[in-house]
């Protein structure tokens, strides 16, 4: 004996599916990138405020007591490991017309771009405190792995890609480059 509920649920599925409007993967990527940028900004703000409080505290200590000289490590300044404040603009300036620009957080970032069959030039610009490794995937298959040596003034590199058929180019940035700002553009050649 067949289950009388099965056709009801099949009907529910059949009639609801056409009404579902997916916001899309680009919307998801924008959401994730926006959240990452906000988190990176919050971390930077906390570091700056913490660094400021530390300096004020040190000054007060110097005024009130005699303390032994101490060396502040570069990482405590909050600048050496987060890079310059305008790093996103620096990275974007290295890639005119960049389609994506963001700041790396403590997790990998996945940028996907639709592409038709043909040859492309990928330009990646980066400004930040450490090298930014990434993997380029064409239609889900790894094409090449590389890295941009990020510096405060910024660096850019170009890559030639060949799409065998229409699909997607994905650039998977490694979280090793946390706090780096990157910008990229894919151009058909």
């Amino acid at each position: 004996m067949s289950d009388p509920l099965t056709p009801l649920f099949n009907d529910l599925r059949a009639k609801t599916l056409p009404q579902v409007q997916a916001p899309g993967t680009e919307a998801a990527r924008r959401t994730v990138h926006r959240r990452a940028t906000v988190r990176a900004s919050v971390v930077a703000a906390v570091v700056i405020v913490g660094g400021g409080a530390f300096i004020v505290d040190q000054r007060n200590d110097y005024q009130n007591t005699i303390v032994p000289a101490s060396s502040v490590s570069p990482s405590a300044s909050g600048v050496a490991w987060t890079g310059r404040a305008d790093k996103v603009e620096v990275a974007a300036a290295l890639v005119p017309g960049a389609s994506h620009a963001d700041v790396m957080d403590a997790f990998d970032q996945d940028v996907g771009i639709e592409a038709t069959e043909g040859r492309y030039r990928l330009r990646v610009g980066c400004s930040g405190p450490t090298a930014l490794p990434f993997t380029i995937l064409l239609n889900g298959a790894v094409d090449q792995q590389s890295s941009v040596d990020c510096t405060d003034p910024g660096e850019a590199r170009e890559y030639e890609l060949t799409m065998p058929r229409a699909g997607s180019v994905r650039i998977l940035f490694s979280s090793v480059g946390q706090f780096d700002a990157y910008a990229l553009k894919l151009t058909k050649i």
Binding site: P4, L5, L8, F9, L12, L17, T31, V32, S168, L172
Partner: protein
Amino acid sequence: MPAADPPADFDAVYAAQYADLTVQLYAYFGDRQEAQDVVQEAFCRALRRWSKVSRYDDPVAWVRRVAWNLAVSRWRRSRTALSFLRRQRPQEPQVAGPDTVRIELVEALATLPAAQRRAVVLHYLGDLSVNEIAERENVAVGTVKSWLHRGRTALASQLQPEARRV
């Protein structure tokens, strides 16, 4: 457990699963927009960890689990809010929606206890077996069978005329 296969493509998984997951959560919530929001949020969380999630044996199962967890949390919150609003506005008129079997099924589902409803939706719309639901819910297989039996009985009694029509 990480698999040796090439990582799954996020766009492909999204395209294949978004609508199906939304239908399941619509049946659970009774609100399509809420269901769409929850599924999109689950995919955003998956995307953030995609380099890891894509290497799982079944990335879709991860997304489904997150979506359902979000759904359950939201449903609990909205149930609390709804209960408060009902106490504040006892004379609010009941407006009848479109009279279709589909709406009645969703409304009938809403009367089931949460666990029974989840089991019924996962079974009929998620196409999960009793064993898979038991594993997902972390309960015994017999418990899931009991949920499904009670759920079916309750739905059948509410939807008898519609069940005969289809």
